[in-house]
């Protein structure tokens, strides 16, 4: 009987309305999460579908003829037909090669060189669409008819082939999209992150040790704490302004140099490292400290020999996360001038350099279609590195974190 009564109350229109409202609300919540997931999936699909083609590149087999005209201008090493197909940059080094090794004069050589960017784009995106007689023909990359026939013929002869684009990882920026790579930006990133680490890690860990282990609870300490929390939320572009005014204009650090960028990012990463190090230090239980004090250690000995070793995994995790954040940062680096055109990898921290995100930004503002896939490919490399860094941080935490 009682069961029937309950069923009855569930049939009460007011209660049914409330249950429907409950279901609706839950659906909204699930909907929000699904939208977030859909965005993530759409985002990664979009970037990968635009970028994966950049890891392959069409190459053409050419005969390089080391004649005396090529000694002055590399272009003349190719016959007239091939000059239209092969990248202009491929023959640039020929005069220098002849200069270095005069025996080459008069010899010929078969070599695979990249094709021009517009031909590469046509082969990657335009050819299939044109052959399928699709409606989107208008949007597909086009070539003049004569050139297209020549390219098609070369493909049939097997003299144009697609190969893995190692050049993308071994060269720097270039004004010719088919030759542009991320190497110099990667080297610049390493320099910048090295300096960031050198200045933010020791200072950050030392500040955190002071605040957690040494500081008396007074006005100064509270000021420092509030200040660090606020500093962590200052927009990154403001750090760029600081770097420009302080390091470049006041201390005379060369503009665009890895040093200027690294110092700026160091100041920006400092609060992140301090906050995570403090959390790691706080996780070390007090009995460890008390035990050490009871053995007659001074406060510094307690920290150095007991607290620091047990909190090291946490500190490293926080540092890696801070570095990953610094690695993706662009705005402050643009302000300190790190968007220069850098074809050669910098060989020191005082030289003009660029970093991966800044390289992505530079490519994104180039008008040529060929740079779009370069941009997306650069982003893929950047995201892969960031993902690896974050995964390492999580792994370190899982593996070495001690539960007390």
């Amino acid at each position: 009987m009682s069961t029937r009564k309950l069923t009855g109350s569930a049939n009460n229109p007011q209660i049914r309305r409330r249950y429907r409202a409950e279901k609706r609300f839950k659906a909204y919540c699930i909907g929000a999460v699904s939208i977030a997931f859909a965005i993530i999936i759409a985002f990664f699909t979009d970037i990968i579908s635009q970028g994966y083609t950049a890891f392959w590149q069409y190459q053409v087999q050419v005969t390089i003829d080391y004649n005396d005209r090529a000694e002055r201008l590399g272009q003349f090493a190719l016959d007239r037909d091939m000059r239209e197909v092969a990248s202009r940059g491929a023959t640039r080094s020929i005069p220098r090669a002849i200069d270095r090794n005069p025996d080459l004069l008069g010899t010929t050589e078969e070599r695979w060189v990249p094709v021009k960017a517009e031909i590469d784009q046509y082969l990657k995106h335009g050819r299939d669409i044109l052959e399928a007689k699709h409606e989107e023909v208008a949007a597909a990359p086009e070539l003049p008819d004569k050139l297209r026939k020549k390219v098609d013929a070369l493909i049939d002869e097997g003299r144009i082939e697609s190969a893995f684009n190692t050049r993308f990882f071994t060269t720097g920026d270039s004004k010719l999209p088919e030759l542009a790579g991320i190497f110099s930006a990667a080297v610049g990133t390493l320099y910048v992150l090295g300096i960031t680490l050198l200045c933010a890690f020791p200072i950050g860990v030392m500040s955190a040790i002071y605040l957690e282990e040494f500081a008396p609870d007074n006005k100064l300490t509270q000021t420092i704490e509030v200040n660090i929390n606020n500093l962590a939320a200052v927009p990154s572009i403001i750090f760029g302004l600081l770097g420009l005014a302080l390091f470049i204009n006041f201390f005379g650090v060369p503009r665009s140099s890895a040093l200027a960028g690294g110092l700026t990012l160091g100041l920006m990463t400092l609060p992140i490292i301090i906050i995570s190090t403090r959390a790691a230090l706080r996780a070390v239980p007090d009995p460890i400290r008390q035990g050490a004090f009871a053995m007659g250690c001074s406060r510094w000995q307690v920290v150095r020999d007991h607290v620091l070793p047990s909190s090291l995994p946490g500190i490293l995790t926080g540092t890696i996360i801070g570095l990953a954040q610094a690695m993706g940062e662009t705005a402050p680096l643009i302000i300190v001038g790190m968007i220069a055109y850098i074809p050669e990898a910098p060989s020191g921290v005082f030289e003009a350099a660029t970093v991966l995100p800044a390289q992505v930004f530079t490519w994104a503002s180039e008008p040529e279609q060929a740079y779009v896939e370069k941009t997306a490919a650069g982003i893929m490399v950047l995201l892969a590195v960031l993902l690896t860094l974050n995964a390492t941080a999580v792994f370190l935490r899982r593996k070495f974190e001690r539960r007390w």
Binding site: V33, F37, I224, N229, I274
Partner: protein
């Protein structure tokens, strides 16, 4: 001698002295101990004591000399600085070795030194803030010497374009009414427009996701959903900028065209939406923390009165968590205001005062970037305007952060 050479020579002098100091100091202590005299500290602490008494005064001399050189108050040749430093080091070395006595409290002295060193490191963060404030205010003052504050705050025309001609000594080419006009209202309008769109996207999605994670999801699902959403926080802003400019903008232009609307290819809607996506994880994880810290007893009380779960959430949990949610919202706003790359890559550069999000607008951060990446001399009003804009941005975001911190602290006190 270059700075690098001087530093190298300095280190070449100090490092061997340091080693010698450590071993001699420790030897002296060990010898004393061997005579059966009880020492106050461990022998190696005496070693460190003599290192410190050598290095600290020497470093101080080198530091002060280079600081004075940098400020231009005195110009010492670097050889002289080097010699002064090494002489100080040698004097400190002798003094430190002599001072080693059984009664010397080396351990306590080292401890105090460490304390000062650590305090010094902690003060660097304060100095960073001071340096930000000083550098931005100093440059902004130079800007306000040429442009009145009132015009900057209330003017509705921003066209710094001509001022660089003047700075380049070509002032006569400036047309009638010449000089730059620096009325920042259109820039702030753009910034607030993009922030409003971003928050309209991120607040509902972020808050509802947080409610899902803390109220509906099982522990296992929560463990999957939370890190996945936080992926969005780890994506660099330049990547979002590319996504906005290359993918989202054309879609928006197409959709607008479908409805017969005319959308600009640098419309403000696209960076706004993408910025909203970027802010979702901030809102969701902060709100999630706050909702989780609401005591279970509040929910149980509501259930006992017969409310459904959603009624509990809407009338008990969310109102209780409101201060925390508001503070998450404010932090999100502060991120959106200072966000640079997305708007630089996807928004326009034309100052435009409008309510239509399909038109192009420009923002404060875009103008900071463009006025500092041009070829203007550093003294031109256009370059300096970046610092004035930065000053306003800094003040606004700082205020938002302080309000948000205070609200969270109040909230935590209420339930802890």
């Amino acid at each position: 001698m270059s700075v690098g050479q001087t530093t190298l020579l300095l280190l070449a002098g100090l490092i061997p002295l340091g080693y010698a100091g450590f071993f001699l100091g420790r030897r002296k202590a060990l010898n004393t101990q061997a005579e059966g005299i009880r020492l106050h500290s461990r022998p190696q602490q005496y070693g460190w004591y003599s290192v410190v008494s050598m290095a600290v005064p020497a470093m101080a001399v080198a530091f002060i000399a280079s600081l004075l050189n940098l400020l231009g108050w005195i110009a010492l040749p670097s050889e002289l600085v080097l010699i002064m430093t090494l002489v100080t080091a040698a004097a400190g070395f002798g003094f430190g070795l002599r001072a080693i006595q059984p009664s010397l409290r080396a351990r306590i002295k080292l401890d105090n030194l460490m304390r000062w060193l650590l305090l010094g490191a902690a003060l660097i963060s304060i100095m960073t803030t001071v340096a930000i404030v000083l550098s931005v205010i100093f440059e902004a003052m130079r800007f306000f010497r040429e442009v009145s504050v009132w015009e900057f705050i209330t003017g509705t025309t921003w066209s710094p374009g001509d001022s660089f001609l003047e700075a380049a000594g070509r002032g006569d080419e400036v047309g009638e009414g010449g000089g730059g006009v620096f009325g920042s209202v259109p820039l702030f309008a753009g910034t607030f427009m993009v922030t409003a769109i971003a928050m309209a996207v991120s607040l509902p999605i972020g808050l509802l996701s947080a409610i899902f994670m803390s109220e509906y999801a099982s522990q296992r699902i929560r463990g999957i959903v939370k890190p996945l959403i936080e992926i969005l926080a780890g994506i660099p802003t330049v990547v979002y900028g590319f996504f906005a400019a290359v993918t989202v903008t054309p879609i928006i232009v197409d959709i607008a065209g479908f409805f017969g609307l005319d959308a600009s290819y640098s419309n403000i809607l696209s960076p706004g939406i993408v910025m909203g996506i970027m802010i979702i994880p901030f809102i969701s994880s902060l709100s999630d923390d706050v909702i989780n810290s609401i005591p279970q007893s509040l929910r149980e009380g509501a259930f006992a009165l017969g409310t459904t779960r959603s009624e509990t959430i809407r009338s008990v949990v969310v109102p209780a968590a409101l201060p925390g949610v508001i503070s998450a919202f404010l932090l999100g706003v502060s991120r959106a205001l200072g966000e640079t790359m997305i708007v630089v890559m996807a928004a326009g550069v034309r100052p435009n005062l409008t309510w239509n999000p399909l038109e192009d607008m420009t923002t404060v951060t875009v103008n900071i970037v463009y006025s500092l990446t041009g070829d203007q001399s550093f003294d031109s009003p256009q370059t300096l305007s970046a610092f004035a804009l930065g000053l306003v941005l800094f003040i606004v975001t700082l205020t938002l952060n302080v309000i948000s911190t205070v609200m969270v602290r109040r909230f935590k006190q209420q339930y802890d």
